[in-house]
């Protein structure tokens, strides 16, 4: 065979050398490593050469990267909202759907470039990130005028969230109201009950149950149950207990929280819920409302947030809001705690201070932008000044929000991630076997002890 010394034909050597040269040339000549990595330097270059005035008025050009949890129709609506912005300022918005926000934390920990704009971290990280300057304060990003307008026109309750050392970091872009009892207008024709007791006393037509509940939601299964619990706690024990509760100061096995679970238990009991606990646990929250419109109806009420109508329409595309379905807010339990409702919002945080990110943040806080959101349907605005809702359901919801004394944040969202996951799971375990309540609450307290340590 071949001689003992390796002999490659000279051709191969030529190949090797040229391959090395090719790869080397590619890496240095405008390869992705230089162009894709950090939009911020490119953007600031564009800004330096371009206009310097208020970004909302002139062509600025450049790029801004946004990480958002939105996808599907939400993303389409977002693109519609962005169109006037891009037309006016020439700034290209690069939106990526990123659901797992620990991606953001990973980049923060590793010191790699962050997207210009993204959602906020878990509440327990907010103080740390604010103080380290990772999140940029709205007072600076929006500019003096922008901030004045935003703080004046945004619902006051929303301005209490994400505040560190007097500075605000979360820009509220759109909102939802939770804790609404949805019904089929042809099935429930009476007046909305005033108290939970009245609600529970309503007799459904024969064959139907009182409520429909669906807790399944992939890795977040259980969250609709936590919303129901939150609405109970705020009405049963008041906003102060509610706040200490999600801040981790209220023990889970305290009488207030235990009472809330027990009341929640009625809504998912074999007697009162469509299909019994097994169905509750197996049904995706979006499909839980199907029996409302079935013939014969399977249940009378579904407790959900304002975003549920689009899911009704998935199964029954011909339903008309207000004509076919409507809602009333969760009734009262303890009259001294009336006027509290649970809210949910989408917010943006600026992570890089560039002219482009400023421009976009400013734009998102304007009535013009939020009106487009509202017209696209499926959401409420964050600005008080928006009152034109094409959809009668959302007009009603906006009224409910405006009339409320307090808009309290979703309790689960305000807890550390570990605690929230345990909270979600607790509703699943409880629905599965209500006799385990004490064990479940004890476990939640264990998690609470470990979770809230900011040390």
């Amino acid at each position: 065979m071949a001689p003992s010394v390796v002999r490659f034909p000279p051709r191969v050597l030529v190949f090797v050398v040229s391959a090395v040269l090719v790869v080397g040339a590619c890496s240095s000549a405008g390869s992705p490593s230089t162009s894709g990595g950090a939009p911020a330097p490119a953007a600031s270059q564009a800004a330096a050469s371009g206009a310097t005035g208020s970004a909302a008025t002139g062509q600025v050009g450049g790029q801004v990267t946004v990480w958002t949890a939105w996808g599907g129709n939400e993303l389409k609506a977002f693109q519609a909202v962005l169109k006037p912005f891009t037309d006016k300022t020439g700034i290209q918005v690069l939106a990526t759907t990123v659901r797992d926000f620990s991606q953001l934390a990973i980049n923060v920990d590793a010191g790699t470039p962050l997207p210009d704009i993204a959602g906020p971290p878990n509440p327990d990280k907010i103080p740390e990130w604010a103080q380290k300057g990772i999140m940029k304060p709205l007072e600076e990003i929006l500019g003096a005028d922008g901030w004045a307008a935003y703080s004046k026109d945004t619902n006051p309750a929303l301005l209490t969230i994400g505040v560190v050392d007097g500075k605000h970091y979360l820009e509220m872009v759109k909102t939802q109201v939770k804790g609404l009892q949805w019904y089929n207008t042809k099935v429930f024709t009476g007046t909305p009950p005033k108290t939970y007791d009245e609600l529970l006393a309503i007799k459904p037509p024969s064959g139907a149950k009182l409520t429909c509940v669906g807790l399944e939601s992939g890795d977040a299964s259980g969250w609709p149950g936590t919303d129901m619990l939150a609405n109970i706690v705020m009405r049963q024990s008041g906003p102060d207990v509610y706040t200490s509760w999600y801040q981790g100061k209220q023990p889970w096995n305290s009488p207030e929280i235990k009472a809330a679970y027990q009341l929640f238990g009625k809504f998912v009991s074999e007697a009162d819920v469509y299909g019994g606990p097994n169905t509750v646990l197996s049904t995706n929250f979006g499909r839980a409302g199907k029996p409302l419109f079935a013939d014969p109806p399977g249940c009378m009420f579904l407790e959900q947030a304002t975003f549920i109508p689009s899911f009704f329409l998935e199964d029954y595309p011909n339903l008309k809001p207000k004509d076919d379905f409507d809602f009333f807010p969760d009734p009262s339990i303890n009259s001294q705690f009336d006027g509290n409702i649970e809210g949910f919002w989408d917010s943006f945080v600026a992570y890089n201070d560039t002219p482009q990110s400023r421009a976009l943040m400013q734009y998102m806080s304007t009535a013009e932008a939020q009106q487009i959101w509202v017209d696209a349907g499926g959401t409420l605005a964050a600005l008080k000044t928006i009152t034109k809702y094409p959809d009668p359901i959302f007009a009603h919801a906006a009224q409910v929000a405006a009339d409320a004394k307090n808009i309290l944040p979703t309790a689960g969202d305000q807890m550390p991630a570990d605690m929230q996951h345990a909270f979600w799971k607790s509703t699943l375990d409880f629905t599965n076997d209500q006799s385990q309540l004490d064990t479940i609450l004890a476990h939640l307290d264990e998690v609470r002890a470990a979770s809230y340590t900011t040390q």
Binding site: P32, G36, G37, L94, V98, T112, P113, G286
Partner: protein, 296 residues
Amino acid sequence: MTEVAVAESRPRAFAPAEIARSIRRLPLHLTVWVVMAIWLVPTLGLIVNSFRSVQDMGHAGWWTTLFPPHGLTLDSYERVLSTPNVATSLVNSLLITIPATVIQVTIATMAGYGFAWMKFRGRDFFFLVIVGLMVVPIQMTLIPVLRLFAATGLAGSFVAVWLAHTGYGLPFQVYLLRNAIGGLPREVFESAEIDGASHVQRFWQIAVPMSVPAIASLVIFVFIGVWNDLLVALTFMGSSPNRPLTVVITGLVTSLGGGWQFLTAAAVLQMALPLAVFLFLQRYFVRGISSGAVKG
């Protein structure tokens, strides 16, 4: 090396011996079809559902489509294919997957040969470390690796993703290939060595050709793994405009899961290419490439 191909003699189809043979093999075929059915039915459900509307999917199971009214629609596919950036993301996915696969398989094959047929101090130790690393959860490695990329200026580039996939995939690949290459007959290598072939020649002319089935299966797995990956791409290419298909698909559903019906079509489209790769590489899973080598 003579190649011994399998040549099944084919007796005449309807001879009594052949019929008896078919009947005896009936349980065999039955088993095969049952297994195939168990494996196919779930995927079939997905494929059929990708042609149905979301209302239909909520009201009745996918098998009802087999009977009229069939209710088939291309809505989901239209939606997926009209998503902005879906074409470029497909190209990006290819640009990530193909180089990553090539890099990994070549390095792993070299190392497999080294661990299998060369003796050196610490060989078993190094090898066990590599195998043991297979158990390390990838999430624990993301931040240190990301820091390294940031320090070397690679963060956000294709190169970063290729290197990351290589680093995470090598343990299993080296493990598999060492086994395949190490299982080849010693005599073949020894006779080549006696004939004066260097390691490079033995590697290239004996080891690689004889382990083609193993290498082919590895290519399939690596391709699938990188093609379907979301985590590594997001972590190491996060803000880059060069998004792969998996990221764009995430954007098909709302944050609440609305629009999940489009995922059925997206999944079917996404699995088409790896499936094609699998079918294409089947030609290398043929008996005869290495059997009989000893008789040479």
